[in-house]
């Protein structure tokens, strides 16, 4: 039961230290502990080693996602995202993949919905190029979720300049601003 009490004040920047203890007594979600909501909303940081030599697949994937979203701007709408970032980096000659997301639904729901998008759209996931990723992910959602959970590194500190504001609320505010500007123009 995501327990996001609503009255957090977006106008007051806020930071939250996340301790090992607070993670240990986190509420239980369907697939494990619920990673708590912070002033920077919900999120994850997945870090995993890639299968050697697969770098080009990642760059091709980037172009596919760019194209996919351009053609269908609501492709990822279900995920209630703010931002996603993908990185590749090297440690000791081995390439690692980092995937960070900031969004408004809880972690398990995000992962389930993401699997839904990947299977429904026929998109393959870059995750297939990570070591240890379950080959039967399309028919075995719990195994996908487990991989994601096993490779998630919870943050120990998160900050929000406009804390807890959801991406829907921000879009609403921007729409209102646009409408207001339009109204002022009309009144000239």
């Amino acid at each position: 039961m995501p327990n996001n009490a609503n009255s957090e004040d977006w106008s007051k920047p806020s930071a939250k230290a996340i301790t090992k203890e607070s993670l240990a007594d986190a509420e239980q979600g369907r697939y494990g502990p619920i990673f708590p909501k912070s002033p920077a909303c919900y999120g994850f940081s997945i870090i995993a080693k890639i299968i050697p030599g697969r770098e080009p697949v990642f760059y091709e994937y980037a172009r596919n996602i760019e194209k996919g979203v351009a053609q269908k701007p609501d492709l990822l709408a279900v995920l209630k995202l703010h931002y996603l970032r993908w990185n590749l980096f090297e440690i000791n000659g081995e390439t690692y993949f980092q995937y960070m997301g900031i969004f408004d639904t809880d972690f398990d729901k995000y992962t389930e919905d993401a699997i839904g998008i990947f299977t429904a759209s026929g998109l393959n996931t870059v995750f297939e190029n990570l070591e240890g990723f379950p080959a039967d992910w399309k028919t075995n959602a719990p195994a996908f979720v487990k991989f994601v959970r096993d490779h998630h590194r919870p943050s120990f500190l998160e900050y929000g300049e406009y804390p807890y504001a959801s991406s829907d609320e921000i879009k609403k505010a921007l729409r209102l601003k646009a409408a207001f500007g339009e109204m002022l123009d009309q009144m000239q």
Partner: protein, 444 residues
């Protein structure tokens, strides 16, 4: 092809029963358990048999097992390990996920349902109370002959009058919206969406993702089976009626409050199609009573509040992956009806229901965790399902209304969870496989 001759009728067909008895069993001896199963499995009809059966049939038997129950029957550890995690843990262990906290917590459950000794359920549906009594006696005699088979508890169910339509103790007409499984030949009523892939409810078929999910092993055990979540929910009828009186000055206003909590008038008429005044003829007409959506017809919830029970349990065109979250509902009411005008008598009454699905974690647990108990569902801020949410008297229920909305604060709990369990409902061949387990292995 849907193997309707191997699927228990329970998943596909609704028995024309006015009474039922649920028997909750424990097995202390694998041989005795299999003897019980052998004796009963012949009485379990497949969906095909039920369709072909004469209308004079008077009783319908359904059998299902907990994970511990499968072990008690002699299923080996390697096979047990292939079942999904949530089913292995069982409903009581999932309490926090499900919102079964406070008065709803497993420590308060009755009938041994929270115990690891709960192994099986026999659902005996009967044409009437006399037939149920006959079945009860027959089952009692069978149990007495089977070594180590113990009845932990049982629950008698009776339809509540008037008998011309299904309804609960609060008075709401029920069984109006139900998913249809592709391949059963059933036609969805207008507004119910197309038939869904069988894998959403039955193991061994493609589901709405277009894939065939991995099966627990061996396949003879899992194919044509389903998972069912059992919920025994007490309904506090006196408290419910007091609440309506406190929040509505006239009988009409009280009816409207009841309708807003559910999203349908107690007659069954959906508020979107009858926003101001009840329309019992609409409520009773399956060609019309489910023919609505939310995004186009009521985006802001002026007719059906965003937090109303049916809008949460099936957000229709306002939820992603909706077809991956549907459930088939079965069940009945138990306990004596509380006549209108009678004060609360303290007798337990309620609904004892089953939610049938292909994946407990994706369907039933999602519904409990997100739709029923996420306080911020649809950005509502401080609400849970007004009928079945974990209510502790601190939450709200908002009724959108022009020019200003009505906000009810301090919503009481109208229901309490009195028990529940996860069962696996095997196919017909799987029942025989389980009954003859000892013949293939010497694992005791």
């Amino acid at each position: 092809m849907l193997e309707i001759d191997d699927i228990q009728h329970f998943v596909i067909e609704r028995a024309k029963a006015l009474a039922a008895r649920y028997e909750f069993l424990s097995f202390r001896d694998a041989k005795g358990a299999r003897a019980w199963l052998s004796a009963l499995s012949g009485t379990v009809s497949s969906a095909a048999q039920m369709r072909a059966a004469p209308s004079s049939d008077r009783r319908w038997v359904t059998l299902a097992f907990t994970w511990n129950g499968l072990r008690a029957l002699g299923v080996d550890e390697a096979s047990l390990a292939t079942f999904p995690e949530e089913f292995k843990q069982g409903m009581a262990a999932r309490a926090e996920v499900l919102g079964d906290i406070g008065a709803n917590a497993p420590e308060h459950w009755v009938g041994g349902l929270a115990s690891p000794d709960l192994h099986a359920i026999a659902i005996l549906f009967a044409g009437d109370v006399a037939e149920r009594e006959r079945c009860r006696q027959e089952h009692e005699a069978l149990v007495a002959q089977c070594e180590g088979v113990v009845v932990l508890s049982s629950l008698d169910m009776e339809a509540t009058p008037p008998f011309d339509h299904a309804h609960d103790h609060f008075g709401y007409r029920d069984r109006l919206s139900q998913p249809v499984i592709e391949g059963t030949g059933e036609e969805p009523t207008p507004g119910s969406g197309g038939p869904l892939k069988a894998g959403e409810f039955i193991l061994g078929y493609q589901d709405e993702s277009g894939q065939e999910p991995v099966l627990p092993q061996p396949e003879i055990l899992s194919r044509n089976g389903s998972y069912i979540a059992y919920r025994r929910l007490e309904e506090h009828v006196g408290k419910f009626r007091d609440f309506l009186r406190q929040n509505g000055d006239t009988p009409d206003e009280q009816e409207l409050i009841a309708a807003k909590l559910m999203g349908r008038w107690r007659s069954g008429a959906p508020l979107i199609l009858a926003p101001e005044k009840d329309d019992p003829a609409l409520g009773a007409d399956p060609q019309r009573n489910n023919d609505f959506n939310y995004k186009e017809m009521d985006p802001k919830g002026y007719a059906i509040p965003l937090g109303a029970h049916i809008r949460r349990m099936n957000p229709r065109d306002t939820a992603p992956s909706m077809n991956r979250r549907r459930m088939i509902r079965r069940g009945a009411t138990y306990g004596p009806p509380l006549p209108e005008g009678t004060p609360e008598d303290g007798v337990e009454r309620g609904i004892a229901a089953f939610l049938v699905c292909g994946s407990l974690i994706r369907q039933f647990e999602f519904a409990q965790n997100v739709w029923i108990n996420d306080k911020n569902f649809h950005e509502l801020g401080n609400e849970r399902d007004p009928i079945v949410g974990a209510q502790d008297g601190t939450l709200e229920f908002k009724i959108p209304k022009r020019p200003i909305r009505k906000k009810i604060t301090g919503l009481p709990a109208f229901t309490t969870v009195r028990g529940g369990a996860y069962f696996f409902l095997p196919g017909i061949k799987a029942l025989h496989y389980l009954a003859t387990l000892g013949n293939h292995s010497e694992s005791e």
